[in-house]
Point group: C2
DNA sequence: GCTTGTCATATTGTTCAACAATCCTCAAAC
DNA sequence: GTTTGAGGATTGTTGAACAATATGACAAGC
């Protein structure tokens, strides 16, 4: 992670700021968010005010506001008097995240039933196209999007935001897990299977398949993160 | 809402700060949060930096950090270049909040079944005691706590935080609804009924009762807020 | 009387410098 | 090897200053 990385990102986002009337704190937060989510700022690393005011071209106060934004998004963790760090998921986090997912995704899928098929089918296809092109990071992203789409069947803004947050936190976990192909590859066919079952009218069986997927993904993630 | 109100609150919270190692921004946010939740800062009212730095005894920059905290909690809404306001729930907010509640509370109740009875029974009792003493604001608080306890049966930190947030937002709505007795009184017996049904082993019927309650509460709240 | 334009003011957004407070590291003493 | 103290780095906060934005008041024109 170099100042040059941030510099380039800043240019893009400065344009976006002009378009979207964002504040400087929002822009700085957006740059940091991107860097965290792509793994350029690894989990556990320190994000010191002094080191980032230059590349982000903001004052310390503005950067502190940006930090507040990102700590609430759980991407950063703020330790009073000791600074701000990129969050590192622990086993309890992983368990909780999957608990949330089971509660929401399974309930949403059951409630939506067949009506959810077009949306979910489209979401699976995105992943299948990325896999066909060997873009495994994109497959991971598409997988997360598929699952967000399940929760999105509820049609609730707050649930969408929660699941967006959950997805972001999961990505922190993925950065510690290495090879995206190994993790996401098998799940594509499972996602397709869930959609098929749903399309066949068996919402309860689809829900069971989804639950089984979530349990397996949790187990796999805990296997690595719990072993750290 | 006077400066004296804030002054007294500040003294309490200054003590708490010493105990809990909170930052000044956290303390300021806590004072404002309390004022908002008790209705001393009514929904829609402006919270200007200049007016609050004195009573809160912080600098503008620190206050801005506090605002960031509270906007993320949805208690304040930040309008770029125009200031910060206490959030005012609209009809769409109400609908979304109840959608979240239905998804989470109903699913949690179904999953917990009889195992949830002791916790929920205790929560109902708190409300019943408050009602017996005619403390209707406390009844409202106990009612919210009962419903948070349902969601708490999941045992997920993130779900608890979400429902804590939902409860805070609902309180904003209650401030616009007038008489707490009228709103909360009938719900006590309904809560007791839900717990009885659950204790009798009929989780599905308890879930239906809960869903019906949520639908009625939503309807009632929308009747007032939608009419504004 | 109504509309438009200008100007002044209030407020927000941000920067910067300074100081206080806290934490961490390293060296010295035991 | 352990403990203690000093120094430096960093964070937390304050306050002043300036830039930017929005709003309101007032005057001029129709």
């Amino acid at each position: 992670m170099t100042a040059a990385d941030i510099g380039g990102r800043l240019t893009e986002l400065a344009l976006e700021r002009r378009r979207e009337r964002s504040s400087a704190a929002d822009v700085a937060a957006a740059v940091l968010r991107d860097l965290i989510l792509e793994g350029a700022l690894p989990p556990g690393s320190r994000v010191s005010e002094e080191a980032f005011i230059g590349p982000l071209e903001v004052s310390r106060n503005t950067l502190r506001e940006a930090f507040r934004l990102l700590t609430h998004e759980r991407l950063l963790v703020h330790k009073l008097n000791r600074g701000v760090f990129v969050r590192r998921l622990d086993a309890a986090d992983v368990k909780d995240l999957f608990q949330v997912r089971r509660l929401i995704e399974c309930s949403a899928l059951l409630s939506a039933g067949k009506a959810g098929v077009p949306t979910l089918s489209a979401a699976v296809e995105v992943g299948e196209r990325a896999a066909a092109a060997g873009r495994w990071v994109d497959v991971g992203t598409a997988n997360l999007r598929f699952h967000q789409a399940i929760a999105g069947l509820v049609g609730s803004r707050r649930i969408d935001e929660l699941m967006h947050q959950v997805a972001a936190e999961l990505r922190l976990g993925f950065h510690e897990m290495g090879d995206p192909k190994a993790f996401h590859e098998s799940y594509l066919t499972r996602n397709r299977g869930i959609v098929h079952t749903l399309a066949a009218g068996d919402a309860m069986r689809a829900e069971s398949q989804l639950r089984a997927y979530l349990n397996d993904a949790e187990y796999e993630m805990l296997d690595i993160i719990g072993r750290r």
